[in-house]
C-alpha cells in the first residue's frame, strides 16, 4: 500500500509550509488525485488520519478532489472524457489521444486558522 508513503510525502510538504505559518493551526489539506493515478482515495484518507493522529495536525482533514480522465484527439481535436481507460476517440476512432486531465497527484492548498 503506497498510500502511506504518498501521505508521508504530503506531510513533508505540509511541514515545509506550516513552519512559515508559525503558530497557526492546520485545518485542511486539499489535494488533487487524477483517475489515471494508481491511488485509492479511501486508503489515502485512512493513512492520513493514522499519520496525523499524534501530530500537531490531528484536527486537520484531507480533502481529495478526484480529477476525471479527459483527453483530446490529436487527429480531429475532439475533447472528451475517457471512460474505462479506453484511449480511443469516440468521434473518429483514432487512438492518438493526448491526456488533458487525470494524471494529477498534487497539493493545491492548505487552510489554516
Amino acid at each position: 500500500m503506497h498510500e502511506m508513503s504518498i501521505v508521508q510525502s504530503i506531510l513533508d510538504i505540509v511541514d515545509e509550509y506550516m513552519t512559515k505559518e508559525n503558530g497557526r493551526k492546520l485545518m485542511e489539506v486539499a489535494v488533487e488525485v487524477g483517475e489515471l493515478v494508481a491511488v485509492v482515495p479511501d486508503s489515502l484518507t485512512f493513512c492520513y488520519e493514522a499519520l496525523v493522529e499524534n501530530s500537531p495536525y490531528r484536527e486537520s482533514k484531507l480533502i481529495i478532489n478526484i480529477i476525471p480522465l479527459t483527453g483530446t484527439c490529436s487527429d480531429c481535436n475532439y475533447s472528451f472524457k475517457i471512460e474505462n481507460f479506453e484511449f480511443v476517440c469516440p468521434n473518429c476512432k483514432s487512438s492518438s489521444i493526448a491526456v488533458k486531465g487525470g494524471q494529477e497527484l498534487r497539493i493545491t492548498h492548505l487552510e489554516v486558522e
Binding site: A38, E86, E111
Partner: protein, 214 residues
C-alpha cells in the same frame, strides 16, 4: 481561516531524484530498464535468461527489489554479474532514492545495461519514476488475460509488455488477442513480446529488443 496556496506535485521529490538518476545513467552511457509485474510472473527468470544470452557480450548490472529476503539476488549472483539487493521491509515499490543509494555499489562506467527488478506489484510502482529509460511490464499466461484492464495505469506508463509462459497456453484460458487488444486500447504505443522463459521460445525477440536499444 486563510488559504495557503501550494500547487505542488506530491511526488516532486521522487521525480527530482529520478531526474538525477537519469543524468547518472546518461553520463555512464547506461541503458536502464525497470522490470515490473505481479509476484510470480517470471521477472527473475527473464533476467536469468537475459544474462545467460548476453553476459558474454554486454556488461550487465542488476538491482533487485524485494519486500523481504535476498533470494533473487542470490539467484542472479550465480551468473557473476554485479547485483545489489534492496529489501524494502514491507514497502510495495522502489523509489528513486533507494535506487540512487544502490548505484553507489556499482562501478557504473563499466556497465552497459542496468536492470532494476521492481517489487512484484502491478499498482504502486506505476507512480514512481526511477530514472529508467524503459519500463517493461510482464504478465504471464497463468494470471488471466484481463490484467491490462484491471491495472490500466501500469500498462499506460509502460513501454513494453512481455507475456511470459506461452508454453502453458494450451492449458489455460488466456486469449492472446484479447490481451493485445485491451493493452493497445490503454496504450497504443505499447510494444508486445510473447515468450517462454521455460522453453526459450520468443526469447530472441526480447534479446534483439535489448540490443537495438543499447
Amino acid at each position: 481561516m486563510s488559504i495557503v496556496t501550494v500547487e505542488r506535485k506530491i511526488l516532486k521529490k521522487n521525480d527530482e531524484i529520478a531526474a538525477e538518476n537519469r543524468q547518472i545513467f546518461k553520463k555512464n552511457k547506461l541503458f536502464t530498464i525497470n522490470l515490473l509485474s505481479s509476484p510470480g510472473s517470471g521477472k527473475t527468470s527473464l533476467l536469468e535468461k537475459t544474462i545467460e544470452q548476453l553476459n558474454n557480450s554486454i556488461k550487465i548490472g542488476v538491482v533487485e527489489g524485494d519486500v523481504q529476503t535476498d533470494n533473487d539476488a542470490q539467484r542472479i549472483a550465480k551468473y557473476n554479474v554485479p547485483v545489489v539487493q534492496i529489501v524494502t521491509n514491507g514497502g510495495c515499490h522502489l523509489e528513486a532514492k533507494l535506487v540512487q543509494n544502490a548505484l553507489e555499489n556499482f562501478d557504473l562506467s563499466t556497465l552497459e545495461l542496468l536492470v532494476i527488478e521492481n517489487v512484484g506489484n502491478l499498482v504502486c510502482p506505476a507512480n514512481y519514476d526511477l530514472g529508467e529509460d524503459k519500463k517493461i511490464v510482464m504478465l504471464s499466461t497463468t494470471e488471466g488475460d484481463d490484467k491490462p484492464s484491471k491495472y490500466p495505469p501500469m500498462f499506460r506508463v509502460s513501454d513494453v509488455m512481455v507475456i511470459n509462459k506461452t508454453d502453458l497456453l494450451e492449458y489455460v484460458d488466456f486469449d492472446m488477442n484479447r490481451v493485445r487488444e485491451h493493452a493497445h486500447t490503454i496504450n497504443p504505443n505499447l510494444e508486445i513480446i510473447e515468450l517462454s522463459c521455460k522453453t526459450g521460445e520468443g526469447l530472441d525477440v526480447w534479446i534483439d529488443w535489448i540490443r537495438d536499444n543499447l
